[in-house]
Amino acid sequence: MENPIKGHTVESFNEEMQREHKTVLEMGALVRSQIRAAAKTLQDEDPAAARKVIDDDAKVNELDNEVAAHVEQILARRTPVASDLREVLTVSKIATDLERCGDEAGRLAKLTLHFFEHPDLSPNFQLLKEVSTVASFVEMMLQESLDAFDARDTYGACEVIRKAEELDGEFRSALRRLTTFVLEDARTIGQFVDVVLAVRALERIGGHAKNIGGYVVYLVTGRDVRHETLDAILRDLAK
């Protein structure tokens, strides 16, 4: 969907705003593919692919730097206000969250290197199943948050915030299941810690997707809802 960042008398302002909007979506697509690829390296036991994920994080960082530089220029040259200001701030915040998602994907890829570059550490594959499940879930959350941003869809954004609560439950269930493995076989304790850290990294990505959902509500309504409950947000949107 086309984003309604148009209509300025100064056409170049429209272009600058749309460019940043596009860059953030591009960055989001890249980060999602990084998360997917990182989870796949674990399944495929592929250290070479994991290295590529780690190297490709530089591209995410580059886009983050690009957005930060352009946001600085827009603030200095255009002094945006009202919805324009919110768009610029939102773009800046989303880029920061996406950059951190990229870092978390890198952490996941490092787990592949850790397990499969050292044959003596061959992991318990039951443990790794948890990683794959949570990875798919958070990738979907991230996609939905970026779709909501693109469409300025506050209800789509709220759905992401709701899913963050679901993710929280899923994370705790995964911990319980992983703990069961440790209790059955204490030798898996080292792997347990590594896998918990990986799932934790994914859970953080879900948290960033939730943040993006909150930014979308702010973008559209002007209300900062980061510290509000989903019910309170929905009540306010219904007014």
Binding site: N3, G7, F13, T79, P80, T221, G222
Partner: protein, 288 residues
């Protein structure tokens, strides 16, 4: 009620549409907190006609004590006309008719018995272009206190001149040349001289009509700093075309459009999340 629905993608905005129609909005319900408790200036149903043409429609707006109210809006929207109602400057325009009530500290200024000279000592005005009298710096400031007989002695007058120049932030620059012509000062200094002249008679209200439009950024910054200091003692209304200036100097902002007051709110709210599309379109530059 005017439209407050979101803008369609790519639309030039509702402002552009209404400007193309070139028709006044007429009497609209102002959105936001236009009225205050214990206002310094209180305007109710103020309308202005120039002959047959109506320039202002039922404006209801208060100004609070010790606040700077910014009046913004496109050219011809009526903000200067409204400002000029507050010290009856429109009386000087032939065919101009003002209706409604305007009270300053509960006194109706348009009352038949109201003393216009006294009113203008209570309501000072600073114009777009600095307009010092062709007199010395000293006499520019002393003029008001003399005609209003505010002083009993020359020493007292000297003190008023010094105090006014100090409050206007000009004293240090002119203390050693008070007898030099006011017109010899730089543009920024002349504007501060005009502000000093306005405050010399100790008004309640100061009206400023684009006071910085002819000044460079440094002189503008000094005037803005001065406005912030003067706020402690005066009620100030400022008409400006600079959105950044309105955002920097005021506590409340009123958006006028085609003779109507569309929205009033805290400056923070107006510049971050205005409630009316017209306001949003204007301040974000979706104009024309």
């Amino acid at each position: 009620m005017i439209d407050s629905t979101p803008r369609a993608p790519g639309s030039k905005g509702v402002l552009a549409d209404t400007l193309e129609q070139d028709a006044p909005l007429g009497s609209v319900q102002t959105v936001g907190e236009a009225l205050l408790e214990n206002p310094s200036v209180s305007c109710r149903d103020v309308a202005v006609h120039y002959g047959d043409k109506q320039a202002l429609f039922d404006i209801n707006l208060d100004m609070g004590t010790n606040e700077v109210l910014a009046l913004i809006g496109p050219s011809g929207c009526g903000k200067t006309t409204f400002l000029r109602c507050i010290n009856r400057m429109n009386d000087t325009i032939q065919g101009c008719r003002v209706s409604g009530t305007i009270k300053i500290d509960d006194e109706e200024i348009n009352h038949a018995d109201a003393d216009v000279v006294s009113l203008r000592s209570r309501v000072g005005m600073v114009f777009q272009k600095p307009n010092p009298f062709p007199k010395s710096i000293y006499d520019n400031i002393a003029y008001g206190p003399r005609i209003h007989a505010l002083t009993a002695s020359n020493e007292e007058l000297d003190q008023i001149v010094e105090d006014s120049l100090k409050r206007a932030g000009l004293w240090k620059e002119v203390a050693d040349r008070l007898q030099a012509p006011g017109t010899g000062l730089s543009g920024g200094q002349q504007q501060r001289l005009c502000i000093a002249r306005a405050i010399a008679v100790n008004p309640d209200v100061i009206l400023m009509d684009e006071p910085c439009s002819a000044l460079d950024p440094i002189a503008t910054a000094r005037i803005e700093e001065l406005i912030d200091e003067l706020r402690e003692n005066f009620t100030i209304a400022i008409v400006t075309h600079s959105m950044q200036q309105a955002a920097r100097v005021s506590q409340r902002t009123a958006y006028f459009h085609m003779g109507s007051l569309v929205e009033v709110g805290s400056t923070d709210q107006i510049f971050t999340n205005p409630r009316q599309r017209l306001t949003e379109d204007y301040i974000t530059g979706r104009f024309g």
